[in-house]
């Protein structure tokens, strides 16, 4: 797998604008670990190697145990490893990422709103949209995962 192009180099303005959204999400008040869990789950759905590598590392750095990380893909069966807030965020992330199939039905929205205030849910949805954008960039241009670079 070879990198196709470096978008940071050929489109620095666009990459910077995306970075602005990323920066917003990080200081939005959503817990950083929750955001990373959501980023990881979306990257699993979209199959983004670069992003899986990055967000797994970020979660490990935050002290999340490998046993929990291994179950992110099957969180619904993960018992007390995942809190009610994490479950609500992961369910919403899955539903919104798979929007073409789900249409984000009323029940999914009601469940998410029961766990998050309006602003939190909008910020979470901005984060989900952002990771869907980053996944598309990294997959389209075959960004090399850090692990492949031996780092």
């Amino acid at each position: 797998m070879t990198k196709r192009l470096d978008y940071n180099q050929v489109a620095p303005g666009g990459a910077k604008a995306l970075g602005g959204v990323y920066g917003y999400v990080m200081q939005s008040g959503l817990p950083a670990e929750l955001v990373d869990l959501v980023y990881l789950r979306i990257s699993q759905i979209n199959n983004c190697a670069y992003c899986l590598d990055m967000h797994t590392r970020d979660l490990l750095k935050k002290g999340v145990k490998i046993e929990k990380l291994a179950l992110v893909q099957a969180w619904e069966e993960g018992g007390n490893l995942f809190s009610a807030t994490e479950r609500a965020a992961l369910a919403w992330a899955e539903c919104v990422t798979r929007v073409a199939e789900t249409g984000v039905p009323d029940a999914a929205y009601a469940a998410a709103r029961a766990a998050f205030e309006e602003k939190q849910l909008v910020d979470l949805t901005i984060a989900i949209g952002l990771m869907n954008s980053y996944n598309r960039m990294a997959i389209s241009f075959r960004n090399t995962p850090q692990a492949v670079l031996g780092m």
């Binding site: 901005i126 949209g129 598309r136």
Partner: protein, 148 residues
């Protein structure tokens, strides 16, 4: 019925998203091409608000309604769609459906045969952006302007 007005609920967050939009519009890509791609992605994702908006934008750009009607079936649209538009629409489809396609080498080569690296990066930022907007508008049931 609208669930949340996300511009009111998170103005600072939406400002950063709109900043990406402003960048895309100033990227040097033709506005009609961007609107075609925005419409195609919105059709795949089923976003009423965005379909309504970008159909109207294309009409404002001077695109005939006969052409707008064929955007979902552009491959059969003959000379209505030029080579650049066909390349952009094919790329928008494969990138939007990334979980199914994985954006294979053949798709990348076809796109890179028409767009230079900078244009293709900007186009892909535009596709990612509309995928984010579609997710916001569908998740929060933004009312299409035509339905107001």
């Amino acid at each position: 019925m609208e669930r949340v007005n996300y511009y009111r609920a998170s103005p600072a967050g939406m400002k950063t998203i709109d900043h990406v939009y402003a960048h895309v519009m100033e990227s040097g890509l033709a506005k009609t091409l961007i609107d075609l791609v925005f419409l195609r992605a919105s059709l795949i994702n089923g976003c009423a608000y965005c379909i309504d908006m970008h159909s109207k934008e294309l009409a404002k750009d001077g695109v005939a309604r006969e052409k707008i009607a064929l955007v979902p079936a552009w491959r059969e649209g003959g000379r209505l769609f030029d080579e650049t538009e066909r390349a952009a629409l094919a790329w928008a489809e494969t990138v939007t459906r990334v979980a199914e396609t994985g954006v294979p080498d053949g798709d990348y080569q076809a796109a890179a045969g028409v767009f230079d690296a900078g244009q293709l990066a900007e186009l892909t930022i535009a596709i990612g952006l509309i995928n984010a907007y579609n997710r916001l508008a569908i998740s929060f049931r933004t009312t299409p302007d035509s339905a107001r």
